[in-house]
């Protein structure tokens, strides 16, 4: 899909949210949370579906922390509802734009969940995933259009591709992080501020 600026993604996403929640677009700000705008669980599903359809992306079905816990195993990134130092390092690496003080004190899992419900977080996630959606056909350079399911089809030559899922991309990122950042020093305590 053609490159979209953060502001363009925000405008388009805000329209989806406003329509789904039947609220005025002016109420939607990057720092607001979807649940504070009145979204219930099924609204989140509806917003996800509409976002996937309009941006031609495939959203992950769980948070990056949950995917990371699958890869790392239990109690390494999160223990008793709080991020461990290792968990903070991973999240800092994943969210370099998050305010530095976000990870200085104890970070509860619920605080991260709240972060993932922020409009601004969604906008950056959409922008990140959209770069994997081609606007031009790799074979002939023709324009791509949405096809069945999570597929895109070249209008000119008919070449089809399957979109990469957010879950798959998240898992790849976590595995790379595990191999390059965690595994080499696993067991040795490393200051939280080292990885950026």
């Amino acid at each position: 899909m053609p490159h979209m600026t953060e502001s363009e993604v925000f405008d388009k996403f805000a329209q989806i949210v406003a329509r789904s929640l039947r609220i005025d677009m002016a109420q939607i700000k990057p720092a607001m949370h979807l649940n504070d705008l009145g979204a219930e669980s099924l609204d989140l599903i509806e917003i996800s579906m509409e976002t996937e359809s309009q941006f031609h992306i495939f959203l992950p079905d769980k948070s990056i922390l949950e995917t990371a816990v699958d890869v790392f195993g239990s109690d390494i990134l999160e223990k008793d509802g709080f991020l461990t130092d290792e968990g903070k390092r991973l999240m800092l690496c994943r969210m370099p734009d998050a305010a530095a003080e976000t990870f200085q004190d104890k970070v509860a899992v619920k605080d991260l969940q709240s972060y993932f419900l922020k409009i601004g977080t969604w906008v950056r996630m959409i922008q990140g995933l959209a770069q994997y959606t081609p606007s031009e056909c790799r074979a002939c350079g023709g324009p791509m259009a949405a096809s069945m399911g999570f597929r895109m089809k070249c209008v000119q030559c008919g070449e089809e591709i399957t979109l990469r899922s957010g879950e798959e991309l998240n898992r790849e990122w976590v595995r790379e992080y595990y191999d390059k950042e965690y595994h080499p020093h696993a067991g040795a305590p490393v200051p939280v501020t080292v990885v950026q």
């Binding site: 949370h33 504070d36 219930e40 099924l42 509806e46 579906m49 509802g81 709080f82 899992v109 969940q113």
Partner: protein, 274 residues
């Protein structure tokens, strides 16, 4: 909106002991459990008074500060307040017998644990030596709360309005096997059952304390029985890592329809297969 009222509420100010009750009893979600005497479920289907007045009546100082600082639309602020009110009254009624009196609303603080699950706290918990477990749900201007005092028990409740217009959420919320279960339901109640199955996942996620953060398909519906409303779920990859002891267990969630809402409730005794 149609009322969920099952039994008449105590009229304001007419209770024999303790502060007046603003919420109503709602026994349907707990009727199927044998020890339902140790459970209390309350609901509010409208603000009983002005929001500011309700906040003054039911919230502690700390909760009130939080409510005032909430940057949220009115719907969210009102439902949050109503959920707190229902939960405090459920806890208050639950503790009336062991404590010998009904606690004022403000003495029961509802605070989230690190995973976001609501917890009831207060100085009374020292006297009591145990803490009730609670679950809160709200949808379309109605709030419900379920409280239980059995040690080791986990409770979860969810509620959805049938007026919710999201019709094709099934594709994202359910696996092909779950959609087959749904397809086997009577055509006339298909939408209702889609919501019941959704609520069942949410209620179990709440009972286990982490919601659906492990992914929607990590809560797999293996059976749904139209005649009883019972839905059986099993945990799959994603959720099993957090709850390995539940591997291979079938967890039963009770679902039903009440006027324009469907609800699901689960009471799970830790360490016991249901």
């Amino acid at each position: 909106m149609a009322s969920l009222l099952i039994e008449p509420a105590s009229p304001l100010g007419s209770t024999a002991s303790g502060p007046p009750l603003l919420s109503h009893p709602w026994n349907a979600p707990i009727a199927s459990w044998a020890h339902s005497g140790a459970l209390v479920c309350r609901h509010l289907d409208a603000l009983p008074c002005e929001p500011g007045e309700l906040a003054d009546l039911v919230l502690s100082h700390r909760e009130r500060n939080y409510w005032i600082s909430m940057r949220a639309v009115d719907k969210r602020r009102h439902e949050w307040l109503m959920g707190r009110c229902a939960a405090k009254e459920a806890v208050s009624l639950l503790l009336e017998k062991p404590l010998g009196a009904r606690l004022p609303h403000a003495e029961i603080e509802i605070v989230p644990d690190p995973y976001g699950r609501p917890r009831a706290e207060g100085v009374w918990s020292v006297t009591l030596g145990t803490q009730p477990v609670i679950s809160i749900a709200h949808s379309h201007g109605t709030a419900v709360a379920l409280a239980c005092l059995h040690p080791g028990q986990l409770v979860g409740i969810d509620l959805e309005s049938l007026s919710h217009r999201c019709e094709d959420f099934e594709a994202i919320a359910f696996s092909p096997d779950e959609r087959n279960l749904l397809a086997a339901m009577p055509r006339v109640s298909r939408q209702e059952w889609a919501l019941r199955m959704w609520c069942a996942k949410e209620a179990l996620g709440k009972a286990l304390g982490r919601g659906l953060s492990a992914g929607l398909l990590a809560f797999h519906i293996s059976r749904a029985e139209a005649s009883t409303g019972m839905v059986n779920l099993e945990l799959r990859a994603g959720a099993l890592e957090h709850f390995p002891r539940l591997r291979g267990q079938s967890l039963t969630v009770y679902t039903a329809r009440e006027s324009d809402f469907v609800f699901a409730a689960v009471i799970y005794q830790q360490g016991a297969a249901e």
